[in-house]
Symmetry: C2
Subunit: 130 residues, 2 copies
DNA sequence: AAAATAAAGCAACAATGTTGCGATTGTGTA
DNA sequence: TACACAATCGCAACATTGTTGCTTTATTTT
């Protein structure tokens, strides 16, 4: 079985996620890393972190892809069924851990994962009178 | 004020949407068009159709972007608040027009648009014993 | 310390989306 | 119906994002 290693780049990326309150794109991570490692390495680390359920992927309405730390909290089985909020002004994506949609599905569909993204104005931008 | 025109390429693309039961990516449209027009033209037509609220954009969990016809039905104000289903087997995206999530938002957020995408197995793939 | 192998770096490539500009073509109006 | 003019198109060039193969580096285990 594959063992995962702790490398400087991985540690650096985890620290960036730890510090950030919002989801980050590959590009944003790269800027914050300041050439700690190669662009490709970032992709590979993100892949590994997703496999290990440490981060999750979020795709915005516009097709932008971002990543955020998973909040494992209490659940034994880890499902990313919380909502995300995408601000159309500052483009920040935040996890709304407590917002869970309820819905009724037609028969014959097997739902395994859900992605619930709301967009509009975040509190910060709403208050700055746009 | 800008007037929009009906060009052969736009008509062809609209017909493709009309015939398709699932959402289509730029690439899928291009294949079906069989060199009716340039790749760039497709992008521009899709942009126009979105501005005119004739189609809407859907971004999948994996970051894939697709487009589908809007169903204007009864609502006066057109909001894309229906759900989409993305099949992890056949990769087709279908609009679930009647599935509308209910949710409770924290204060201070102004929600303008929502994107609710479920993924798993569609009826077609569920029945073919995977 | 050496062996085993996960991870990094580099280069090259693929897919997707954007921009500028000159040429073409729909369409309202004369 | 013909004209004028703006909307649209095609092309080339570029930007961004993501992937792959292969060699080298470095972490971990023995």
């Amino acid at each position: 079985m594959k063992t995962t290693r702790n490398t400087p780049a991985k540690t650096a990326i985890l620290e960036i996620f730890e510090k950030s309150k919002t989801a980050l794109s590959h590009t944003e991570i790269q800027k914050q890393l300041n050439d700690v490692c190669d662009r490709v390495t970032i992709y590979r680390i993100l892949d590994r972190l997703m496999n290990d359920d440490i981060i999750h992927k979020i795709s915005n309405l516009d097709g932008t892809v971002k990543y955020a730390k998973c909040n494992h909290s209490h659940q034994r089985v880890h499902i990313h069924n919380h909502a995300h909020f995408s601000c159309e002004n500052c483009n920040e994506i935040t996890c709304l851990e407590n917002v869970k949609p309820s819905y009724i599905m037609p028969h014959n569909y097997k739902v395994k994962e859900i992605n619930f993204t709301l967009s509009g104005l975040c509190p910060k931008c709403l208050n700055s009178d746009i």
